[in-house]
Symmetry: C2
Subunit: 111 residues, 2 copies
């Protein structure tokens, strides 16, 4: 088994204000699904997009929201979101601190 703290994993700022850490993926031996930790700075958002794989999201800290096909839902610590494949969505920070969440995807969505 492999143990680390997510802080120790190098983050990648894919777009300004949005850092992704792949905490359990191919490097750890995963071959079915990938766990990532995202940190969004205040006033930051992931792009509105869709893809043919699902998300399973768990909110760790901060205040944010997700936009989906049926509108926006606010998110706080402990909230869980299931985003089905092909539903357009984005997550954004509505607070004044970091909005941090786990997002698990199947390997097909990992790049």
């Amino acid at each position: 088994m492999k143990v680390c703290n997510y802080h120790e994993v190098e983050g990648k700022e894919e777009i300004p204000g949005v850092v992704k850490r792949v905490v359990a993926g191919p490097d750890e031996g995963a071959d079915n699904f990938v766990m990532r930790v995202f940190e969004l700075q205040p006033n930051s958002s992931t792009p509105l997009h869709s893809h043919n794989w699902e998300h399973e999201i768990f909110v760790l800290a901060g205040y944010g929201a997700i936009k989906g096909a049926d509108g926006d839902a606010t998110l706080i610590q402990g909230d869980v979101v299931f985003v089905p494949a092909n539903e357009a969505h984005c997550l954004y920070n509505t607070g004044e601190e970091i909005f941090r969440f786990i997002c698990v995807i199947p390997m097909v969505g990992h790049r």
Copy 2:
């Protein structure tokens, strides 16, 4: 999409002191992998066991440890564990408060 707080999901005490909540699974539309939230009371442990699917674990709160093939590793908030298939393991609470973690498994392990 579906949004809830893990608190709102009914927990099942599978063994004394160990409560499991399935927060993203078949009921939410998941068909590849399942997110569960476990809460272990002080002095509680999951059984030492192995199976032919992997775990991806994220520690949310409390103090605990995991026993694996190479010994025991302490766990605190933010720690991530990848347990490969067929490695015997158990998680246990070493603190005086609830030890809470997320554990994601492929659908084949869900029952």
